[in-house]
Symmetry: C2
Subunit: 272 residues, 2 copies
């Protein structure tokens, strides 16, 4: 079973397009709680609500050995039928990208990973060569500075296109190899999201930026979900896992996750 099949099964089983981000930050977690213990409680409370879990490696690397240990234990603890995404944003020259792909897929055992396109095809190829894994190429990211380069206008055949759309076009070409490429497009930029969806109706989108980053969920769902009804997943982390810093953090996470899941499904059901 490849990544997309596994994802669709989890989406259908849990009736959810919600991807929960497990980004441990000791300043926001309940005090004196270990990272794995925290993640385990969040997973126990939300495993029937998520279509995927996304782990951003930065937060684990920043916690040194305890972080890496918790990362590995968390990946193993996530139920086998829910796919795991390494939000790693790696990008390096071919030989090195191969080592990163090995680290994320063979060593850590993730089902999918985010990659940075700046170095071009040979930085992405070693990832997409893992045909059963999912690759999300950064396209239009959710952060405030993402326009710095991603929205520069490029002239192609007398048309003006922003860099992020050229990245999407190239990613679509690369996708012919294994049909395992998706795009990262932030909910914080609904117009750009609509453009990407219009030009790439069948590409899987990973959409961060709802919740703490301020992206509007209704427009993200309206613009992001493709014709098949499951062409996008919506990632939220801080809004869910730090819903409470008290002893009720897991219940609070469940409440927010459940409400997000339901809101996404409600918006999917609204006729456009």
């Amino acid at each position: 079973m490849n990544f997309e099949e596994k994802l669709v099964e989890a989406e259908e089983k849990n009736k959810s397009l919600l991807c929960i981000g497990l980004d441990p930050d000791p300043e926001l977690m309940p005090p004196k709680m270990g990272v794995f213990k925290f993640n385990k409680a969040i997973i126990d409370a939300t495993a029937d609500l998520a279509c995927a879990y996304k782990l951003n490696l930065a937060f684990y690397e920043a916690l040194d050995d305890e972080g890496i240990d918790a990362l590995k234990r968390t990946i193993k603890y996530i139920p086998a039928d829910i796919p795991t995404i390494a939000d790693a944003k790696r990008g390096d020259i071919g030989n090195t990208a191969k080592a990163y792909a090995k680290a994320l897929f063979d060593i850590l055992g993730f089902d999918a990973a985010t990659v940075n396109p700046y170095l071009g095809f040979d930085a992405v190829e070693p990832f997409i060569d893992y045909l059963d894994k999912g690759i999300f190429v950064l396209c239009r990211t959710s952060n405030p500075s993402s326009a710095d380069f991603q929205s520069l206008q490029f002239v192609l055949k007398r048309q003006r296109l922003p860099l992020f759309e050229i990245v999407a076009l190239r990613a679509a070409q690369w996708n012919k190899k294994g049909n395992n490429i998706g795009l990262v497009v932030g909910a914080t930029y609904p117009k750009e999201l609509a453009l990407i969806r219009q030009n790439h109706p069948n590409m899987l989108l990973l959409i961060p930026g709802i919740g703490a980053q301020g992206g509007d969920l209704a427009s993200a769902v309206r613009e992001g979900v493709g014709a098949k009804g499951h062409g996008a997943i919506f990632a939220s982390s801080r809004q869910i896992i730090y819903a409470s810093a008290g002893g009720d953090f897991a219940e609070a996470a469940r409440r927010v996750a459940s409400s997000l899941k339901d809101e996404i499904n409600y918006q999917r059901s609204v006729p456009s």
Copy 2:
């Protein structure tokens, strides 16, 4: 002492602009040799020839716990007066970039790091906020596919400029904060290197791609070294550390490193 001061001291002490890449690959290393033991022997054999050591994190991450352990021991083992560069190419949204900067600078103790500009300023800012550290922004990378996006022509203020030059312009603007930003420009693209050096005469350049990647050393030195005579460092890894796979690997690494160092100095002395 900040990164650039430390770098210039090491350059002057060892009369070298050679940055040695420590990228362990068990398939190329002498058989049954641990990574730290390998690195230690290379460092012992070359510490008077290098102005910096560059460690690409991918190769350590691909070796799991042994790799991370060797990474940490290697950083500690490198003589304190030779700067260390984390070739990590990280790039993520502000909150997350902060965690990556913490991992590389506070946890691992590197003196400098490479970062990916695709996400824009807020992905780079948490790194440059470490004013005593060096930040190398990927500009024109050394790999074959680097033209895919980096050489696309964009319109900026009615001028057409390649993306890598726009990245360099922005990096120069960001540099006003701490004057601790340099650029990564591959030796494999001497024309692009010349353009960057012409437009940014005082920016520090990290130049990979000599050696195994086929970049021409003479033109890289001619185009890369700035007016002050030490505005560039030249990174080589495989050509040095895998000069021999036999018991003489450290002596062979020393021979190649010494010859590269001398050739760089010779090319610096040739009047242009």
